[in-house]
Amino acid sequence: MSKWIASAAFAFAAAAGAQDTPPGELVKSVMLDIQASVAQDKDLQAGDRDKTIALIEQKALPHFNFVSMTSLAVGPAWQKATPEQKKRLVEGFRGLLTRTYASSVNSFRDQKLDFRPVRMKPADTDVTVLVRVLQSGAQPLDIEYDMEKTVRGWKCYDVRVGGISLVVNYRTEFANLVREGGVDGLINALEAKNKSAERPAAATAKK
């Protein structure tokens, strides 16, 4: 009974908007929700990519700030980009990150997660949420979510896995592409990568 009330209260809170959910609880609920979804679904366990992408589109991606992520990864060239270029950069990077995320979901499906308490003051607008993946015979793997407070709730603007920042890791690649072909060169590279990744997915889906 109390469980039912709790889940009803949770559903209500979710419906009322995630604005007020503190970053630590937000990360925890999203990660556990995804783990539970994978545990219940044979297709997801088998690595069905379209379904995995649909799952994270629904559960996780609304909590990311892709504009922040893109501007940080693109670096100085972001300033010089036109609004249209910015839009296409964000779309391209979002596609790339979505597929990367999807390809990692299965690896964490039956891992023990240790959600560390977030040390923050009420006035903080930029915090890091640490989740540790406990594994046998290896050092625990740190996953850190850099979160910023926005009017639409806490949004993630970078993820660090084992100390490797996703956003920082793209900086050199993006800078090289901008140097070679300008902002449009980078846009084309992102769109080409996304297109080439869609095709094999469609081919395997037909099999």
Partner: protein, 238 residues
Amino acid sequence: MRGRQTGLRAAALALALLAAAGCSTVATDPRDPFEGFNRAMYAFNDGLDQVAVKPVSRAYKAVAPEPLRGMVRNFFANIDDVFNGANNMLQGKFLDGWTDWFRVVVNTTFGVLGINDVASDMGLEKHNEDFGQTFAVWGVGDGPYLMLPFFGPYTLRDSGGLIFDWELDPVVRARPIALRNSLIATRFVSKRTDLLDASRVMEEAALDRYTFLRDAYLQRRRSLIYDGNPPRERRPQE
């Protein structure tokens, strides 16, 4: 003795190659002055991986169930803990060092020669240390990035560390040679199998896999040197 000579010869060859590559390469990234040579080595390693190492690792994953693979992983991880401890001691992290060595005692006895990581279940966390990290803590800089044949991404400092890691490694010192070789091969396949997921993610993520791997490696090393808490780089102004 013979092993040492081969090692020296390999090192001399590598240096000669580096010198040759250094003359002909136009470097763009200050951290990677030998990019031309490194890209060639990456192509070599990647080719070997696609043709031989990855297929063997996939087969191993398909044939050996996770409990067995876990035992293999833990057996070698237990040996590593001896050196995790030594390196923590050399870095002045005595509590971590004793924890590592206590893990070895617990896992070798209660964990039956290390095949069960009971120490982690008891809350004694494993660390990740090596001589490259110790040298970094002692103040040695990264040096240029190097893609070593067979061994993969390193920095010059970490390749120096690798020589110590390798020379002291009981697996490498195991005799007879046939036993040593099968131990090295088993450990290598076990580690590569654990990276199958990660390498698939990288293929999905990278526009240029060479650059992506290099930057990921350098970030990862920095994080390991600072034990997961590197000084935070400032967020560039938007």
